[in-house]
Structure formats: C-alpha cells, structure tokens
Amino acid sequence: MTIGLLLPLSNTHLGMSRDFVDGFNSLLKLKEHTTTIIIKKESVGLGGIEKEVYDKAEKLLVSDDVDILIAYIDEKVTAMIYTLVQASGKLLIVVNPGANHPYNWIAQPSVIHLTLQHAFLCWLTGRLAGTNSADNKEAAYASSFYDCGYLHSADMVKNFTVSGGNVLYNYVNNQAYNENFEISQLNDFLTATPDCKNILAVYDEKPASLFYDRLNNYKSSFSSRLYVSPMMMTEKAFELMGAGYHFSIEGHLPWQPALDTTENKNFVNTCSRPASIFSLLGWESALIIDEIITNYSGDVQEGEAIVEHLKKSPMAGPRGQMKLDAETLYYTTGFGRFNMEAGTLYGAVERITDFEEDWKTFSSLDTEGAVTGWTNTYLCY
C-alpha cells in the first residue's frame, strides 16, 4: 500500500509536521506495517496557496498513484482537491485541528475527517458559559486578530448567545506575541463594567499565556470567569502562571498527555518525540490505516468502499473510542471538560464520552449568512 502525506509548515508550531510524522510512523512501526507501506510526502508550505496544495495533491494522487491520501490541510482548502479525489475515487483523509468546519456538513463520499474537534469544543464551551452563569449572562469576548478568523470563534459566541448569554464587548488584539503584548482596552471595559464577570477567550497557546499573565495584573479581572478555547488549556498556555490566577478558567480540551488510559500511555511512550496534539493526529491517522490494512479486504483505491468499512469499525485511540460519524464522515472521540478554580495551580479534567447528541446538534447547524475568515491556513487550528 502506498500512502501519500500532504504536510504543512507553521511559523508558530515549528515541529508540527515532524510531530505528525513521528506519531504516524510510531504507530505503523508498533503494528509492524513499516515494510508493507510506502509513504510519499509532499509539503504544502503554510497551506494557504491553493494552487500549490492542488499541485502537490495531484502529484501524489496521479503521478505517484498513492492508494490513500492523508492531507493535513485546512477545511477551506480541501474543496480545491475534491475534483481530484472525485475523479480518482480514492480515499482522502483530511486532518487538522478542526477550528474550521464545512458550511454545510454533508459529506463527500470518499473524504473522511480527523480533527481535534476544536470548533465543536468551543461550541460546547459557549453553552457552558451561557448555562453556568445563571446570575450573570453578560460577557466580554477576547481574541487575537489571527485566532478569531476561524469558525470556532463564531461557534463559541453563537452557542453562548443561544444559551441566553449576551456579549457586551469584543476585544480583538493584533499585537505580536512578545513583551509588548497588552490588553489595556479590555481592562478599560472590564473596569467600567464591573458586573460583566464572564470572558469568552479564543487564543492559541502562546498568546494565551500572555493574555492570562496580563489579565491577572488587572484588578478588573479578579473573580472573573474565563471560558476558553482548547489551545488555552495546554501546558504552554500556563507557562507564565506563577502562583495562580485571580480568575477561574473553564473549557473543553481534546486531549492531555497525562490521560490515564492504556491507549494513551501506549501512544505517549511509543513516540520518539514528546507527544503533542500533532503527533496524536499522526498516530490516529495511522490507526485508520492499520484498520484498513488489517480488516478491509477490498480494493484500497476504492475510497467509498473503505468509508463504508470504516463506518462499521470503531477504534480505540488515545482520546478514547474513535467513531466515524456516518452522516458527516468526521471521526468523533471523547474529550475533557477542564475547570481551574481561581488561585489554584492545576485544573481538574473530567472525561466526556457521552456526546453523540451534542455532536448531532452541532453538525446539523449549517453556517448561514456572510462568513469571513482567513484564506491562508493556520494549521495549529
């Protein structure tokens, strides 16, 4: 079997592709598939130039005639290679952290998606914020110019609003992530509006650490409740925490390295590099390939037939059971609900495995109206 890998670069997460390949190769090695699989790799740079993505996908699918293509690309760029996939009939596995999602969720028949479910988790966090705050339904929204250009941002705010919440103020920061990063305008609003105790925040891990740090210096944030996006609950996001924050932090996160399951320990201990969300996606992609090699007996270039097989083949992954949703062809897995009280150093994580109804609701919401966002990709999302 020949597998094609389309891999991105990132200015923010320099090890993204290396981690992905490490996770991918580690699982294949563990399952003793390394001699039966040929891997062909192509880089798509930052993933934002559609022609480049198309050309590289075409090379893999047509010139190299790979059997299955795994493309670490953003949802918006994916459509550009549908013609190739539809013409070839081969299986395409789209991988990304899932901050964007289709405007209409109807699946392409031979395209499956493996993500960290970031948009879904933000949507759940929006609801959490709306229902938690029975006494105070008002919030400020904070993000960066870059981070808010994805649908996960809209999903959090929309579900907060649907749950009875009201966003009073939008703060979008456009600064570099360095010592000059500051949030004084947000502080001005919070100072002038002391009854607004909720903050919906969407940042990547680096700006998240700066955001927490700056916010913690302002009295206006004392006793605030932060509802945050998944990347704001990673270890790096808390690297400037010191003695704890004056505010609480809640949200949903896809995975944490310390997850106490056999599959996760296996993953963390088998990878050559420190386990990360990117190696997790690589490992889980390889789990899908392993399932195809081991239990699928049909033609490996028949994408739709493989999809039918995978629909009936849940797998045990580091995040829990990976199940291919027959309607959307997105893999869904368990996730964690994170809660860190003000003044504490560690958050508690409750694993959530009963989410099917929520996923159905979320994935039946078509995105309507004008949608703007980044046309380049930021593949930590």
Binding site: E50, K51, Y54, E58, V62, A79, M80, Y82, T83, L84, Q86, A87, S88, G89, Y103, N104, I106, Q108, S364, D366
Partner: protein, 314 residues
C-alpha cells in the same frame, strides 16, 4: 494565474447567485438567455444594468452562431451553463480553452432531466445535490467534475430549494473557476450509465394529487414540489381545478369515519380544510390557489363547498 473571462448560459433565477458572484469577481464576460425566458431576461438586465456586461437574448435558431461570435468577441476562457434549455453543439462547447461546464441542479447520474429540483422534492430525497459536468453532445451525460449535497428539508418548496441550490452552485462554480485559473486540465470521471435515471419534464399526472394512493407525506412533498412554479399541486373539487399550496399532516383526536373515502372533506373551519386520506390519515389544507386568487383554504366555503364534498383525483 490566467485571467478568467466567463460566458454564462442560463434561464432561471437559480443562476442569479452565481451571476452576482462572477460580477463581484469581475469574471463575467457575457450572459446568454433564451428568448422565451422573458421575465428572467428583465431581471438579469436590471441586475447587470450598471456593469456593462452584455446580455445576449437567443432563440433556438440563432443561439449557435450568437455563441460562437460572443466567445470569440469577448475572448471567453470558460463557459458555464445553468438551467439553459438548448443543447450545445461541439462547435460551441469546444471553443473556450478552459472548457464548457454544465451546473446541473441534481445529483448525476441519478437525476438527469430538465427539472431535477421538482423530482428530488417529489421523491422525498433526504438530500438534494448539484453536479458540475463537462458539456458533451447530450444533456446531462458529460464527465463529472464536482458534486455536493445539502439536506433537503421536508418543508422546502421548489422555490426554497432553487435558492439553496443556487447558493451551493455558487460555491462549486467558485472552485471550478479557481481551478480553471490554474491553467490545468480539470480532472473528471465518466458517469456510471448503469446508474443513470432520466426524469422527464413533469406532466399533468406528475403534478396531480392521487387521493387513493398518496399518504400525507407524499401529498405534502408533491405540493412543495409544485410551489411556486405551478401555484401548487393540482386536484379537482366540484368540477373546479384547485391548486393546493400549503398543507400539513394532522394527528386528529377525532376518529375518522371508516366510511370516509380518501379525498372526502371532513371539516372546513378557520384552521383550513381537513381531508380524509387512505388508512384513516388526515391532511389539513391551509392555502390554495383558484382562478379567483391565492386564498386561505377556509375561504373555499364561500364557493359553496361543504363538508360533504370530496376532492377528486384528476
């Protein structure tokens, strides 16, 4: 990237979102519309009034020569058809260097034919689709380039679905045009003719309610499929043609008399007209179209219709 100059051949409002998008991106060289689509012609002329983009009105006799001339004159790089009723000859579809494509408002090869929007609703499909294919010598048979689907809600009328598919067509045509701009040979695959189904233009029998065989869901789907283009699904009452525009299934606590034949009117009141269906089903008709106008169904009583009357299958 090559400059895209596109000629759009169309005949219904489904093409308007695509047209707007092309105008916005300055990719539209000319629009071609059959003469018999006169209302649509006016709509497009109004839309493009300030743009300087020519609207060419064609007949079955002159469309070939008009198109050949226009493609050369406006240096068209790609052609797109969407709800255009004339079959293109190779001498036309072979001219644009980027190719000629048809955006078909139904999945292919399963919904070939002139009005797949009607048939998808009537057949109560869970999804409705769009397929883009290369134009060849026959209608709807060319190699498939792109396809996508949307959920088909049981409440969608022909008009609603036309709007939704127009939006989907815009998204797909955007991808197609971007790819054409790459200067590549656009990949495609042959249609599986074994799976091909051709749906003819709907006739009287296709738009009429059969009270003896249809259940509530089937009737509602037919009504939606006929709204608004036919002003509703057709039936007869007291020798008068009535078109039903809106109806709903009723789970009435009142037992239906087993003697009530399908089509019998059970009640007429402010809620509408309740009609008996087969297997003791019940349908409430709320809006109708008659020669006198678009009316709430309860107004039918003013024409002397009573609860003893019956709708007749045509």
């Amino acid at each position: 990237m090559n400059e895209t100059k596109l000629i759009l051949l169309c005949g219904s409002r489904m093409a308007l979102p695509v047209m707007r998008d092309l105008v916005f991106h300055r990719q539209l060289a000319a629009v071609v519309i059959p003469e018999h689509c006169s209302a649509f012609v006016q709509q497009v002329q109004l839309l493009l009034k300030e743009s300087g983009i020519p609207v060419l009105i064609v007949t079955r006799k002159n469309f070939e020569s008009t198109l050949q001339h226009a493609i050369k004159k406006y240096q068209v790089t790609i052609g797109i058809m969407l709800t255009f009723s004339f079959k293109l000859p190779a001498a036309v579809y072979g001219l644009p260097p980027g190719g000629f494509f048809n955006i078909h408002p139904g999945p292919l090869p399963g919904y070939r034919g002139p009005d797949p929007v009607f048939w998808q609703i009537k057949n109560r499909e869970p999804y409705a689709g769009i397929a883009i294919h290369k134009v060849d010598d026959n209608f709807d048979t060319g190699s498939l380039v792109l396809s996508d689907k949307i959920r088909l809600s049981a409440t969608y009328t022909h008009g609603t679905l036309t709007t939704k598919l127009g939006e989907l067509a815009t998204m797909l045509s955007g991808i197609l045009i971007k790819m054409a701009g790459f200067g590549i040979a656009i990949p495609s695959r042959l249609q599986d003719n074994d799976k091909a189904v051709y749906y003819r233009r709907q006739g009287t029998g296709d738009i009429s309610i059969n009270w003896n065989t249809m259940d509530a869901e089937t009737i509602i789907a037919l009504i939606n499929a006929c709204n608004p283009w036919n002003k509703g699904a057709v039936t007869k009452l007291n020798e008068k043609i009535i078109r039903i525009l809106l109806a709903e299934k009723v789970d009435s606590p009142d037992p239906i008399d087993s003697e009530s034949k399908p089509g019998s009117i059970l009640t007429i009141d402010a809620k509408g007209i309740d009609v008996a269906l087969k297997n003791k089903g019940r349908l409430r008709i709320t809006y109708v179209y008659v020669d006198e106008g678009f009316l709430h169904a309860s107004k039918i009583a003013e024409f002397g219709v009573t609860a003893s009357a019956s709708f007749i299958t045509i």
